[in-house]
Amino acid sequence: MTVRRIDVREKVMAKNDELAVQVRDRLHAHGVPSLNLVSSPGSGKTSLLERTLDALGARVRMAVVTGDVQTQNDADRLAARTDRLVQAVVTGGACHMDARQIITALDEIDLEYTDLLFVENVGNLVCPASWDLGEDAKVVIFSVTEGEDKPLKYPRMFECSDYCVINKTDLLPYLPFDMDRAIAYAREVNSDLRFFFTSALTGDGMEDWYQFLTALARAEGAIRA
């Protein structure tokens, strides 16, 4: 018996990356910009989307693909606020979404009539950073209850995001959260991050976010990953 070595040199994520390219090509072909919302659990991704759908739904045709580990809860909350299609991906315990799930979800979305696509990823600041879903940009939601040093603890997620929404600002009077330090830590990891400061509960600060989304939706595919 002899042992034969076969050279492989293949990236483990190559298959996912290939599928992500297909997603990106398909979205760009229809001029649909896309944002992948990532965060720890409970940062307010669904609440941010609920308020966004309420505020912009009449002007911008938004579709949402939600990933929930075990329930339909997020999808149900969003479906109550829009007649635009909301696709739920129950990940069955998986800690992230992958590009294959997005391809399947896109089959159910009428892209000709979609101005902006959101993917609401699984709440997890580690794993979703490794999977390109074919989005134009990642938006990391960072709530003020989490502590200023999250960007340093989870650098990869902040590094691979283009935008950072600092949420739950209505709670700032009750917390020792130091906003300047949080921003400094996030910039330390990614100096190009653009920030939004919101309370998805009260609506405070949402105008800046809405303006960004409105401009993005109309400028077809203006941001490219």
Binding site: M1, T2, V3, R4, R5, I6, D7, V8, R9, E10, K11, V12, M13, K15, A94, C95, H96, N124, V126, C127, A129, S130, R156
Partner: protein, 85 residues
């Protein structure tokens, strides 16, 4: 947290290169894993040991080279050949 799904992808890549019928004769799979690849390397090694030690594999072992950076790739697969064939 997702090391098992990564390990399953590693097995899929090995199968693509050696064919399903040769999996039982795989002795080693070489990987390069960076310290910033978002992977808990010990956990990945544990998952691969479990997968490569049971059907359709036989008694394969992961051989992981730890590097700096984001690298996550399969570098080689070693297969035992029957010289008589």
């Amino acid at each position: 947290m997702h090391e098992l799904s990564i390990a399953l992808d590693v097995c899929r890549i090995a199968e693509e290169h050696v064919g399903a019928e040769a999996l039982a004769r795989v002795t080693a799979i070489g990987l390069d894993v960076g310290n910033r690849a978002g992977i808990e390397i010990d956990n990945l090694e544990f998952c691969l040991e479990a997968l490569l030690g049971s059907a359709p594999f036989g008694s394969g072992k992961p051989e992981i080279r730890r590097l700096e950076g984001n690298e996550l790739s399969v570098t080689y697969v070693e297969v035992e050949d029957d010289d008589g064939s």
